[in-house]
Amino acid sequence: MLDTSGNPIAGVAVVVVGTTQGTYTDPAGRFDLGRLSGPFTIRFTSVGYETVQQVQVLDPVSNLLWEIRMKEDVVGLEALVIEARTESAVLRRSAFSVAGLDLSLARAASTTLDDLLRASPGVVVRKEGGLGSRSEFALNGLSGRQVRVFLDGLPLDPVGGSQVLADLPPLLVDRADVYKGVVPVTLGGDALGGAVHLISRPTDVPFTDVSLSGGSFHTAKGAITHQSVVGGNFLRVSGYWNRSANDYRIRVRIPDPQTGTYGPEQSVERFHDGYESRSIQAEVGVRNLGWADEIRLLGQLHDQTDEVQHAVSLDRVFGRVRNWGRGASVGGFWRKRVGVLDFQVRARHYLRESGVVDTSAVTYDWTGGWVPKNNPSIAESSWNKTLFRYTDAATVANAVLVAQAVPRRRWEAAYTLSRLQRRGNDPLSRYPVAFESPNTLLKHTWAISHSRGSATIFAKLHHASGFTTSVDFDGMRSSQRSSYTLPGGGIALSHRIGAWLWKASYERTLRIPDAYEQFGDGLLLLPNPELKPERSHNANFGFLAETESGNHRFLLETQVFLRAVTDLIRVEAVGLTARHLNQRQVRSAGVEGVIRYSWNRRLTLENSFTWQDLRNTTRTEDGRPSYVYGDRIPNIPFWIMSQQATYTGSWFDLGWSGYFVESYFLKWPSLGSADGKHRIPRQYTQAVRLGLGPSGSHHRLTLECLNLTSARAYDHFRLQKPGRSFHITYRFHLR
């Protein structure tokens, strides 16, 4: 498979029409359709090229060779810009500031999605420890609830978005798109700082994909996905299993149990930090019914358990307390095209139960030894023994109508609904527990967008309503309600000048406070029904330049960004109680970019960087002048670099990556003496990877070494991440 200038094209889909046979071309442009005989129509499709269809008589005995040339299809690329399914490279050319993450190599390795995402400019992922540890995803300085995660068009925030990024194996994902600050209307919801959109693998070709991995710290992972396609209908069964003891070594000082004074620093193995998560999912799709072009139904089961090794302080070691969660969900999809209209409806309902098991009155130390607590009625990590659990019932639904009468002119309308109800109980507690009366939050987003050529303008309207009942210490019942309606909107433009594609985008965004922030937990976290949404002006401006000369290709992409956030929600403590307030203002500005060189599509060198400057723009604190106005927001990385080198040979691939984060302060930079301040130290970790297996083969073996130099790396103050580890992954891939 060659392009018009005779260069091989990799990744071209080769489908034998009318059969389930198909493959992709390898980096040399070759492909193998296996043992077929007779005349067949063969279709070659690749984004960026015109589709080619040829009739060939296939003969399994003789090795038939023929040459096909595909023409580049530039117009097609422009029209594809806002299609939901486009390749990463095409997405890059959209007027939105969006990075598409290519997962093709990651599927054969043991890497997690959040580790892959952190190599993208503008993205910061911070982990507290090993596999399954709490992971925080940040985009251009905004993080946590301010960044939303979507799966196949539906928001995941009712079920904990960022945890999915650490759990979901790349094998089950086609692509992850990162929308920086400006989010298209088809992803409805209140994404203050942007969104990550995970897209499941396409349903048009059959395949079987299995990956098994084992490694240091008693880590084992498995993922499987199998898809059958019959006459356009499909059945897909997927599942994964992740498990790690996370028994890596860290440096601690062990206090004497009697005097409380510290011994010397020593290396200990973590012993109660295990994590296990499992999921299984089945999805069936039927095409070409009268009332629907396509319908899909899915069902999923999931559970996880997470041992807790220590409290915020490493001086408080746990050996028994653990968290657990389990859930089930069902979902559906319907699509119908009528003339120029394309109508799609998606819905998913989740039932989830999460809890903590803390029933032992024991105190552990870092050697793994323990003694009973002097008070047998209290628990290991809490004042009272607890089996606290909460149940979430969440529904998310989304309807999208796309109208495209003429090329390059398009209307999109979308409605998104999200409803979350949380209820808590504790079978051990004789007293009231958090969320004993359910909290309910209902959110609607209506959105409309118009694209004309490379310009898109859009408007969104958000409405939220919440309700809770709480009981205070006198047994008085009180109800709280809240309701908002707020508009938002934005614009995205791009303009090509020669090899330079200039892009600018802006959105006025908001985030609706969640039920926990509005209504508290029914105990010491008090409700504040007057809480307003967080709001932000998000702007991006940048360019993309690509040049090609012979076998050499260069790509340079840079953008500056601004996020001016007001009414940020924070907690205000009042005695033993606390409540959420709209008080903070933050301005995040920065520059990010990526430079990439590739040779002959085999060697790729890439360096991406992010420099972000988050400043406190809150002038007063509760009416008093702020003495940290204009200071850099503490405990957030500001200078991050990520490097990658890969070489793809005919029977192996070799990869190296480096990740750098400059040291940053735990507290306000302006306060405290230089030698009396706490810092999160500079980190530089490297990883190497070797993949083995002839191209086109169904088998691939990948060897990885993470944290090659065993650097003492921290994303959070005092929480040491794992040292050097080795992983081996076997992938079986049939299509």
């Binding site: 005097t259 008070n375 007293y431 008080q583 735990l666």
Partner: protein, 401 residues
Amino acid sequence: MNRFLIAALLLITTSCGLTDSEPGTDSGAYTVAFTAQGSAGEATDYLFNTPVLDAGTISAEGVGIEQTGWRYMYGLDGTVFSVGYYDDNNAIAYRLDSRGRLAEAGRFVFENTLDVFGRADANTLLAMEVPRIGFADRVLHVVDVNSVSIRSKTGLRIWESTSDSLVAWPTALVVRDGKLFIPFYKIHARGDFSTPQTDTAFVAVYSWPSLQFETYLTDTRTGPLGVYGLFNGLVATENGTLYGYSSASLANGFTTRQKSSGILRIPAGTTAFDPAYHFDVEAVAGGKINFMEYVGEGKALANIVTDDSVVWGSFSATNEIHKLVVLDLEARTSTDVAGVPAHGGFYGKPWFVKDGVAYMSVTTATGAAVYRVDVATAIGTRGATIAGKELKGIYRLGDGR
């Protein structure tokens, strides 16, 4: 190499005779526990020396030893203890080094939290872990100040009633004449700090240092003595008389108000409330006592709650619901201090008292400043501006060395 550089710099500064005025203002007569105000509701403590409290600005900009997590501060003669609560289960001791600079003297780790502190003698700190839920031992930590290490831990029940589901929350640890006095109030065992009974004052008396329970002192003329998070439920005078104040106000975290706020005393040499002494402070000062510090010669300074409408309202630094008064404990009179504005509250035991003068951090809705209060004249004067939230403590560690 850095060490050599620092050593060289030190040599230069010493030889130049600049020991008393190093750059960075980490020198001076006073040590302060300064609480900065962040923007996310967080407030970080910095400990540093400051030469003067009467003028200028006290700021942690570029100075101070940074602390982690929320902390109690407790001064004991020449040592200040910075004690982590919840996030950090350790206590760090700071003292002045031979050159007058503030330096860490050691630290110790404890199991859960420490909630109330007291001084047993010049080398003995008392600190008590108080479970906030259920029926459980209150663990008295006896801490050796010199070596900054725990000498012993003893579980004391203090008081409880399983039938009423009530447990004791101690509000002071006072050692006098071979006895440990622990005033307390009753909270619900479910852990929400509700206080259904506030009609009686209680003090539990233990032998010291053997910690054998001896007796309860009770008195129904006023409510329970002391307040959550403040260490002065019982204070001693120069001659050993113990004065205890009752608050039982909503603002101080009580959920019932069954008695007028007042003061009782335990005369020197006795272990009983003085039946002839009851100072109904609420009647003369017009509000309930939030905090009291003994100054000398029978006089005390007290914060009086002027608006008792919000539960826990006293613990917000900016909630201007307190006025400052001088209490004459013998004459049972109250005099409003002139020159100090209505102000918010605090935790611990933050006021510095010496020779009839008190220095205190006063936070209002518009700012924070040090005030110097002359107790004899009941006049307060505004001193240094605090470029932060408050001072959790003002100490003269040099005096205690």
